[in-house]
């Protein structure tokens, strides 16, 4: 994937600057995309290691959730609320997808609407997770293996969502400053992939902690 150099007479002279930038953009886009996908792959490995540790713990203990510090069986987590909060996050994934589609079709107003909805739903999901942390009667982070696993994995995911919200806000600001065009929008593609990624990680966590 060698990057070719634009003709020397075209560099640094008026309109030709854009031509040179376009060449650089086209020829480095695939490399940047591959780098970003590898980053997501590394994150998958990170989450997988925690998830397999959780599966091992769950299968090592006969009664799950295990008894709390006082010896009583812990209740299951609130599945109804988790289902609601999951749909908030999955909904944000769909709105982000449509935001990118509207950007590709140069529909700026709809892009703004869908971007706003994505950020709003992302913040809503974080609020829901904070509510659940406050009300989950599973003995806290250090009370038992279930609490430790739950707070570690969902906390790590929540951190990714919080970073994602910041990422999306930064991208939105960049769009208002003309950083991206209809043809050149790698940052928005990366933001969308990242946001889909945190949605999909939640599919796994939702199943593990609430449905299994």
């Amino acid at each position: 994937m060698a990057v070719s150099v634009a003709p020397a007479h075209g560099i640094g002279h008026g309109d030709d600057d854009h031509g040179h930038d376009d060449i650089i953009y086209r020829e480095t886009r695939d490399m940047r995309l591959m780098g970003f996908v590898l980053f997501l792959g590394a994150d998958v490995v990170l989450f997988s290691s925690y998830i397999f540790a959780y599966i091992y713990l769950r299968n090592s203990i006969p009664a799950w959730p295990p008894p709390g510090a006082d010896g009583h069986q812990l209740p299951r987590l609130d599945t109804a609320f988790a289902a609601f909060n999951s749909i908030v996050l999955f909904g944000s994934g769909v709105t982000m997808h449509w935001a990118l589609e509207h950007w590709k079709h140069a529909n700026r107003s709809r892009f703004n609407v869908f971007m706003f909805l994505t950020i709003l739903l992302g913040v809503g999901f974080l609020g829901g997770q904070a509510y659940e942390y406050a009300h989950a009667a599973i003995g806290g982070w250090s009370g038992n293996t279930f609490g430790a696993s739950f707070f570690t994995l969902t906390g790590m995911h929540g951190l990714h969502v919080a970073v994602g919200v910041g990422f999306l806000i930064a991208l939105w600001i960049q769009t208002t400053r003309g950083v991206y065009t209809k043809e050149r929008f790698f940052g928005l593609t990366a933001g969308t992939l990242y946001w889909h990624f945190v949605d999909v990680i939640w599919v796994g966590l939702f199943f593990l902690f609430y449905l299994w």
Partner: protein, 72 residues
């Protein structure tokens, strides 16, 4: 409290249908594209649609097998 749980399930169920529909429409739109980002998007949208199915199963109480609030 039980009413609140039912309202959450109804909203989650309706939301799951809406999100599933739009995820499938998005998936269809991506289907003929073959770039790396398009293929990753296809996979992630498909998994998100699968997540919606899990939410529907949770809303109907099919998953988890034990009643919420009870021991596993």
């Amino acid at each position: 409290m039980e009413n609140l749980g039912n309202i959450e399930k109804i909203v989650a169920f309706i939301g799951a249908l809406v999100v599933f529909t739009f995820a499938v429409i998005g998936l269809r739109g991506e289907w003929h594209k073959n770039g790396l980002d398009d293929n990753v998007t296809k996979m992630l949208l498909g998994l998100m649609a699968f997540g919606c199915i899990l939410v529907v199963l949770a809303c109907f109480g099919i998953l988890p097998h034990t009643a919420p609030g009870g021991a596993a």
